[in-house]
């Protein structure tokens, strides 16, 4: 069960829009079926009403703040903050954006919500098949939190679904239902903070021999189609220019020919396992001290590659090597911008 009352949430959003303190409110709307939702942009009080807050609210909305940096949602001269609904896991993304100095705290108006976990469509699909849930219920039903679990509410009653079989894996390891930073909190603050353990799978992989590890990852790399969905949905991939398509800075109206001709080509456009490996390893590495394990990459991947295993690894290393948690506090300095005399160095001759 969530302590966030939908009416209270609606009133809070409407009040924000009425006060004209924010330019746009980013929330969720019901998606293509009961299990899915998509970002919703509300710009005036009379648009309020389509927003939802349910177990279908899986997408992390922080990405929309990053999208707004490059493709402004509103007129560029509108300097009012963006309103956004954040859960206990998403706020770490905002904290990292502030730490990386992409946004200032006052540029976002955070409406905290109490999220007991959202559904993973890939898992839901399996459950639909196993439980023989009817097409009508899939299309027209609506998900609700029920006691400790989840149910589909339909005109003919509720179908309860096993929590373990349908929630995102990050939700099964939830570190806290409500955000650490917020301007308004709708619901009861979750004071328990349970730091997630790195998944067993990471430890199991670490224990394998180099060739066994490579066999596992080569299979993953070879299936990547280089759509860059993992990068484009990521809360730490907010660079103006990416190593895999470095043009944004070189190709501008006033850039000189030599800069354009000499821009680096780190990796070809082929999707062979080698080039994909270059891309995925580089991306994972850039998450050192910045990845918040939101597992959006894992969810976005159309080939359903286990990308969380890469990101959980760098998160685990940041913790073990430097006792560093991404997304813990806006007061922390970015991990790789600092150094310390006592950093580990036993791998150096």
């Amino acid at each position: 069960m969530t302590t966030t009352d939908p009416n209270e949430l609606r009133n809070a959003i409407r009040a924000l829009l009425e006060s004209k303190k924010i330019r746009t409110f980013i929330g969720w709307e019901q998606g293509s079926n009961a299990f899915r939702s998509r970002p919703l942009f509300l710009r005036s009080p009379d648009e309020v009403g389509n927003e939802i807050f349910s177990p279908a609210c899986t997408p992390c909305l922080v990405r929309m703040i990053i999208e707004d940096l490059r493709y402004p949602l509103d007129k560029p001269d509108d300097k009012r903050p963006l309103g956004i609904a954040l859960r206990g896991c998403d706020d770490k993304g905002v904290i990292e954006l502030i730490k990386d100095r992409r946004i200032k705290r006052e540029e976002v108006m955070i409406v905290g919500v109490d999220c007991p976990g959202t559904v993973d469509w890939t898992k839901a699909k399996k459950l639909i098949k196993d439980r023989k849930i009817s097409t009508d219920d899939i299309v027209n039903g609506r998900l609700i939190w029920k006691d400790r679990g989840i149910a589909i509410a339909t005109p003919s009653g509720e179908i309860s679904l096993e929590r373990e079989k349908i929630l995102m894996s990050k939700c099964l390891d939830c570190e806290g239902h409500t955000p650490r930073i917020y301007d308004v909190l709708i619901g009861k603050e979750d004071t328990k903070r349970i730091p997630a353990e790195p998944p067993k799978e990471v430890r199991e992989l670490e224990a394998r021999s180099p060739d066994e590890k490579y066999e596992f990852w080569d299979d993953v790399f070879s299936r990547c189609i280089r759509c860059y969905a993992c990068r484009n949905i990521c809360t730490y991939c907010h660079c103006e220019e990416c190593a895999v398509d470095p043009t944004t800075l070189a190709i501008a109206a006033d850039s000189i020919a030599a800069d354009k001709a000499n821009r680096p080509e780190w990796v070809g456009r082929d999707s062979t396992d080698s080039s994909n490996g270059f891309y995925l390893i580089t991306r994972a590495y850039h998450g050192t001290g910045r990845c918040i394990s939101c597992e959006e990459c894992d969810r976005a991947c159309p080939m359903r590659l286990p990308l969380r295993l890469l990101n959980r690894k760098v998160r685990k290393d940041a913790k073990e090597l430097f006792d560093y948690d991404a997304g813990k506090s806006v007061e922390d300095k970015p991990l790789l911008s600092e150094t310390c005399d006592n950093d580990p160095g036993d791998f150096i001759w």
Binding site: D211, Y214, D270, T282, F322, L336, P344, I348
Partner: protein, 154 residues
């Protein structure tokens, strides 16, 4: 891994301008013998080297990558080598995690006066690589050749 006999590993060595490059130079002028397998790329500081450089070297067919800079405390830019150490501490773990043998990437601190140490580092590194055989895990040219050879008329 058979056929390691007679394999001459190709090594890319990123050496910092102020210490390790001078150390390599000293090894040369002092006529200290070390394996000729390294291709040196001089960089201004070990911190200039990004983990992408290492991956790119593997992608282009390097068997091993060496990164060498000034000893801690001796950095020409005060904190460059500290920064490199921090960057690569986690990168080394990640490389091993995806199945690249730990011997394929090595960091060292070699000062301008340590010609002997430079030769030792290179010798030890190349010996370990020779034992491993060629790096075939991340070579893009091999993969493109495989695409071509998969189109053999039956």
């Amino acid at each position: 891994m058979t056929q390691t006999e007679g394999h001459a590993p190709k090594v890319i060595a990123f050496l910092c301008n102020w210490c390790s490059y001078a150390g390599a130079d000293l090894a040369g002028t002092s006529r200290i013998q070390y394996p000729p397998n390294i291709r040196i790329i001089r960089v201004m500081c070990s911190a200039r080297v990004s983990p992408q450089f290492v991956l790119k070297a593997f992608l282009e067919g390097a068997d091993g990558v060496l990164l060498s800079g000034c000893h801690i405390g001796d950095c020409h830019y005060l904190k460059g080598n500290l920064s490199a150490r921090r960057k690569f501490a986690s990168f080394v773990n990640l490389l091993q995690y995806v199945g690249i043998e730990p011997q394929r990437f090595q960091m060292s601190w070699v000062s301008a006066s340590e010609g002997g140490k430079f030769a030792d580092v290179v010798t030890k590194f190349v010996n370990e690589l020779s034992g491993l055989g060629p790096q075939k895990k991340l070579v893009v040219g091999d993969r493109l050749d495989e695409i071509i050879s998969s189109e053999v008329p039956s």
